[in-house]
């Protein structure tokens, strides 16, 4: 596996391509580079007769694209004639990426960021990034993804060489330095058929095994463990779980108390931090407090306020609505939906959102 990060950009509009390339190059420094797809490759006449996904697969296995860490692709490649492929779609790029076990991120300007992000969440198989905050934020998130996959690829050989690390759960737990949380990791695998085909895919060569396992673990981590609060909690879910108001949990002096629980690992994003829920528990219990609020009030003072349920502010929250991305109480939300990982016990959908989208959200 390459240690240097190589990102390939599929963008069919020259102006946008130039902007994103510049932003990616900035965020990938000093350990990564970005290449635009569409230049510097040669194809035989026979290859040109193949389906697009096979052509792209062949091209990506040769220089200058061989050994790519991540593909970043515009959802709308309708001007792909500029890339030498009339009528290319992101699906063909994603299919080639999947065959080669190269991770892929896609992005689009429309529709609105939030809606797009949500729509994308149901499209397994690639990471969906929002372009609504501009090319710099897009590039920053893409570089977080690229670095995450590169970090997994770099550390996997020594983790997989340990005799006891004989399952995806144990490998990921060891990779993240939390073997004691293996049982909780396993709860994120129960019923997750989206990834079943990948874990069942057998690779013969050691390098292919690392590549496939990197692809599998990276998506599992990004798409499941870091998305659905339970094992890890994002900023809103952490405040809610600890029973601290969102704005108060944002304060530096509050976050310092829980610093020990910060997640440091693949896809760690300083702008979107996550915390280990089990370590938060230990920090609170060690001080013999009932919850995070009691601990923070003991250390800082009574001005810190309790969390508020987004449906009924008279109630404390405790949980996280994955649609509205707000703190929510148990009583005013639904949990345990069939598409939630079983370990995601802090992930809920607020009752108003559930009523709005009910039939599509399942039971």
């Amino acid at each position: 596996m390459p240690t240097e990060i190589k990102v390939v950009l599929f963008e069919d509009t020259a102006q946008t391509q130039s902007e994103i390339l510049r932003a990616l190059a900035k965020h990938l420094k000093p350990d990564g580079t970005v290449l635009p797809f569409g230049n510097g490759f040669e194809e035989s006449e026979d290859d040109k007769k193949l389906m697009y996904e096979n052509r792209i697969e062949n091209i990506l296995t040769k220089e200058p694209f061989a050994g790519s860490t991540l593909l970043v692709a515009d959802r709308d490649l309708s001007k792909s004639v500029n890339l030498g492929f009339t009528g290319l779609s992101v699906n063909a790029v994603a299919a080639a990426a999947k065959k080669l076990a190269i991770p892929i991120c896609s992005y689009a300007r429309q529709p609105e960021g939030d809606n797009y992000d949500w729509r994308g969440r149901w499209e397994e198989g690639h990471i969906v990034l929002s372009f609504s905050e501009g090319e710099d934020e897009l590039a920053r998130r893409a570089s977080v993804a690229a670095r995450g996959f590169a970090q997994i690829a770099a550390e996997l050989p020594k983790v997989m060489a340990v005799a006891g690390n004989n399952s995806a759960v144990k490998i990921l737990a060891a990779l993240l330095g939390k073997p004691e949380y293996s049982e909780k990791f396993a709860l994120y695998g129960v019923g997750d058929q989206n990834r079943l085909s990948e874990i069942l895919a057998q690779a013969k060569l050691p390098d292919q095994r690392i590549q496939r396992m990197t692809h599998f673990l990276g998506y599992w981590l990004w798409d499941s463990l870091l998305r659905y609060p339970g094992l890890l909690v994002n900023e809103i879910a952490a405040g809610s779980y600890l029973n601290i108001a969102e704005s108060d949990f944002d304060e530096k002096k509050v976050q310092v108390i829980f610093e020990e629980a910060l997640y440091h690992g693949p896809f760690e994003d300083v702008k979107k931090p996550q915390w280990w829920r089990g370590v938060l528990d230990d920090i609170v219990a060690r001080e013999n407090c009932t919850d995070g609020l009691a601990l923070v009030q003991k250390k800082i003072g009574q001005a810190i306020r309790r969390s508020q349920c987004c449906v009924d502010s008279s109630k404390s929250a405790g949980y996280y609505c994955i649609i509205s991305r707000k703190p929510v109480s148990l009583e005013n939300s639904k949990g345990g939906l069939s598409w939630f990982p079983r370990g995601a016990d802090l992930t809920r959908i607020s009752n108003p959102k559930f009523d709005e989208y009910g039939p599509w959200l399942g039971a």
């Binding site: 949380y181 049982e183 909780k184 709860l187 089990g278 370590v279 938060l280 528990d281 230990d282 609170v284 219990a285 060690r286 013999n288 407090c289 009932t290 919850d291 995070g292 405790g318 148990l330 949990g335 345990g336 079983r342 016990d345 802090l346």
Partner: protein, 236 residues
């Protein structure tokens, strides 16, 4: 009991979560289903109103639990209601009461055919075996029963106090993990039990265990003697 939540140390919270997930896996392996209240297991730790203690409160509903004695038109449902109390900040187990109600269900009517509870209190109680089970006709409180999704009409025994004698029978440690262990052994297939026992072995080591020093010392002092006096050693 306040029902206000409390965050336990990860070791304790994750052990209870793993125990109940292992139990769920055994139940599902037997093609049965386990119903729990909507509150996640790790959030079932509550304040007791006493700053030096905390409790774990959980109810479980087992529907159509295998029972050879019942005819095809009837089924056995079991509801478990557990309350385990810990000292803070040590999180050692001080008290455990696990209620079981057995119902024979026919035509959507649930006849309470057996009720019992397993008891343990740190230091023991006067004239009670240290660990014991007590047979009774005491139903699990309505609110706890319904919280599990149990929606049948309950019919209590025809004659009130039909269970005249509520002898306390000495038992081994029958805290929640042991109760679930015994239920799997009693009712499910041997392969399922073997797998469950294997899965639970390491979890039991992480669960807060009851302190039973007087009983242990009594047994150690006369290993060849396995009689009733041991179960009351805490009174000596």
């Amino acid at each position: 009991m306040s029902n206000q939540g409390i965050l336990p140390p990860n070791k304790v919270g994750s052990a209870y979560e793993s125990l109940l997930e292992a139990f769920r896996a055994a139940v599902e392996d037997a093609n049965l289903s386990l119903s729990l209240p909507p509150r996640p297991v790790r959030n079932c730790f509550i304040q007791t109103g006493d700053a030096t203690t905390a409790a774990f409160k959980e109810s479980l509903y087992l529907k159509g639990w295998p029972c050879r004695k019942l005819s095809g038109t009837k089924r056995l449902d079991v509801v478990i209601n557990a309350l385990e109390t810990f000292a803070r900040p040590s999180w050692l187990l001080m008290k455990s009461t696990v209620y079981l109600n057995y119902f024979v269900v026919s035509n959507s009517i649930a006849d309470l055919v057996q009720a019992l509870h397993y008891d343990f209190v740190e230091g023991g109680q006067a004239c009670h075996p240290f660990f014991h089970v007590q047979l009774s006709d005491e139903p699990i409180p309505e609110e706890d029963l319904r919280s599990t999704g149990f929606d049948l009409e309950v019919r209590s025994p025809a004659r009130p106090n039909q269970c005249w004698v509520t002898t306390r029978i000495p038992t081994p440690d029958m805290t929640l993990a042991s109760v679930l262990y015994s239920l799997v052994a009693d009712h499910l297939e041997e392969d399922t039990f073997s797998q469950f026992a294997k899965n639970v072995h390491s979890i039991q080591e992480r669960l807060p265990s009851p302190s039973f020093d007087p009983l242990r010392k009594s047994l150690e002092q006369s290993m060849a003697h396995f009689k009733s006096s041991h179960w009351f050693a805490h009174m000596r």
